[in-house]
Symmetry: C2
Subunit: 454 residues, 2 copies
Amino acid sequence: MDLKDLLKDAKKYLDKEIEICGWVRNHRPQKEFGFIALNDGTTQNGIQVVYDTSLDNFSDIAKLLVGCSLKIEGKLVKSEGKDDYEIKASEITLLGSCPEDYPIQPKRHTREFLRENLYLRPRTNLFTAVFRIRSLAAFAIHKFFNENNFVYVHTPIITANDCEGAGEMFQVTTLDLKRVNGKPDYSKDFFGKVASLTVSGQLHVEPFAMNYKKVYTFGPTFRAENSNTKTHASEFWMIEPEMAFTDLNGDMEVMEKMLKYVISYVLENGQEEMQFLDNFVEKGLIDKLTKLVNSKFTRITHEECIKILKESKQKWEFEPEYGEDIAKEHEKYITEYFNGPVFIYDWPKDIKAFYMKQNPDGKTVAAVDLEVPGAGELMGGSQREEDYDKLVKRMEELNMNKDELEWYINLRKFGGCVHSGFGMGFERLLIYITGVDNIRDVIPYPRTPKNCEY
Amino acid sequence: MDLKDLLKDAKKYLDKEIEICGWVRNHRPQKEFGFIALNDGTTQNGIQVVYDTSLDNFSDIAKLLVGCSLKIEGKLVKSEGKDDYEIKASEITLLGSCPEDYPIQPKRHTREFLRENLYLRPRTNLFTAVFRIRSLAAFAIHKFFNENNFVYVHTPIITANDCEGAGEMFQVTTLDLKRVNGKPDYSKDFFGKVASLTVSGQLHVEPFAMNYKKVYTFGPTFRAENSNTKTHASEFWMIEPEMAFTDLNGDMEVMEKMLKYVISYVLENGQEEMQFLDNFVEKGLIDKLTKLVNSKFTRITHEECIKILKESKQKWEFEPEYGEDIAKEHEKYITEYFNGPVFIYDWPKDIKAFYMKQNPDGKTVAAVDLEVPGAGELMGGSQREEDYDKLVKRMEELNMNKDELEWYINLRKFGGCVHSGFGMGFERLLIYITGVDNIRDVIPYPRTPKNCEY
């Protein structure tokens, strides 16, 4: 049985014969007895197994090293003096041994060392917590959208569209590069044309919103950006909802509701993990998240935001300007100013994407960024331009290829409507929730420039 | 509000003022009144809207074409003579018009035509049903594993491993192919080496099973196979669970339990959709699935299977043979023979993968295929070879590159244990559940050779 189920129903199993398989996380053998910290990975903290010389194989068991897999038969009992449980073993069977030079020992390993042992790092307390939180958060996202009538759409990974600049895209090919002599013949390539890895599912999911009203995509996206920072990865997962009959206010409502839902779910269903991360990664983490769940998100325009920044007595590295983007220091200031998350909306159109709804002022678009204390920009969204002529004109201004996106533009012709959506980088959320500050440490197998191990 | 919520609580909203936005699926204007079949996509069947000359804009509304988006204000009322609801409109607002040459008309379109209009096909009744079932089934899979303590692991899409033969893999590159003159310099490529799109997450998920006990991956996988069949796509989604401390029998238990769970969930939560598919795609579909959920899955060895096939009086196109794979005709026969799903296990080792557990007979491996009536092979799994020496020896026999998979082999050295897993192609399941017989019609944007639109 799973340790998680055993402990959940501990009262039922108390003093009963039980059987658990798991791995030795720590071992303190004494002369007449011994303590094994055992975990089968279904819990964060595992359980203590106590054994003594009544075991036939006591002397062998006393020699067991960290990392071994064991089968434990015994009784679930209350720990002495503590409101906790342990197993009094009547039989311990070695399932798989582990050598002395096993890299994961019960001590503090550097994250760099663990990145070099990616396939073993889930076995540490830190990564056991992080990757279970990742799993819980992913489930919470699906659960939220399912409960709110959203249809989950698997947008394609390989795409012929290239709407955000080819320079940052990975190309997908079956051409034999040794035979490509300066003249790649794409008609002979697998798809008969240039194909790339998607940078966003947003454009592909919009046609589905025009039927199902509410849809979302949650899948891997790719950027071939040569950035070696703590927040950039070449392969990461994105959540992109899209809603018909919804304006920017409705968009912000869903953004806020979703974020609170996911964090509440993780706090409730990952208590041991969150406590571990609060203790060892970011002090006050649980308080930070609880505060967010209970906070009201402020909504201000970009113009109001710049005004506040300009009126502050702050010394800025980058001077805030109307019509321009804001810097990390501004994000930080504005969330501190309002002591909570802030939606900044109605952004200057020149720094935002072509598909965003042009406001009547002719200068701004109905776009929104969510700034969160301690995280910076966590999500971005917009109302989409539903006016066929305005969208086409904007694409012309930006010298975009309209033919390639004819289908997308046509959505405005065939029963178009006010619609909005947003995107959230899943790893950015995980960095915020776990307190782990490097994107490489929230992805099971991170891919970054010159780094594609396994 | 969503139509789904309105109809779920119809009794509460009966004779109340309500507001719904949606699209015109059909329109029958009469002289003094008219009927609009409206759907906002949160339901399969939509709702009938009745209007009459009491509308100020009656004459404009009477001209509305299929595909328009509307806002309806009015009262929810009981339909005359039917146990059903409709909306008596007090106001109808046109949100987005739709031209007469709109491709999706309320008539039967061929699937080929709809494939040429991928971005509009979700708007047909057929694809509305299919892609909602896809969404429901995906959620059911996550829900099943979540309830059973599995951790969801996002295995990488871009990989440096190549365990199933490079010929079938897509290469991922940022090299400028115009500058590759017969000598691709991979040290200058994005990852500094050859990188490809994953064909399976299984090997990558196994290290996580060695910590969490029970894990699964559910993500896109890729095959650059030049096959133009109804069951092959270049990009498809796979579900791959992996369980420590679990032998082949335990594996089969989870396979059976998961399949029944997912199908039950879809039958319960997609009733309108399944009824539509039963009526128009596969007569008896719901019965077929209900029967599966209530059936006991038979378990026979490959040898027993061949014996049954040989003893039958069938005329075979391919003669069944001990030690060889079975053909589609055999799959069909054996599920009919047992009148239900059949697990065939203990396969000849030479036709199965290197990582499968070698049985003591020296001839077979602890592999299993699940054969389902009307679907053929729906899943495949195996107990994994947990013996370090046997695994290495098998890889040597097959001339495999051990260095590349050293990490995988090492899992046997560091607290290894009996473990098993399986894989299920998500689209194969969807073909079975929806009755739609072409994989191109269960994927939002299918990718096949020479076909990568959008």
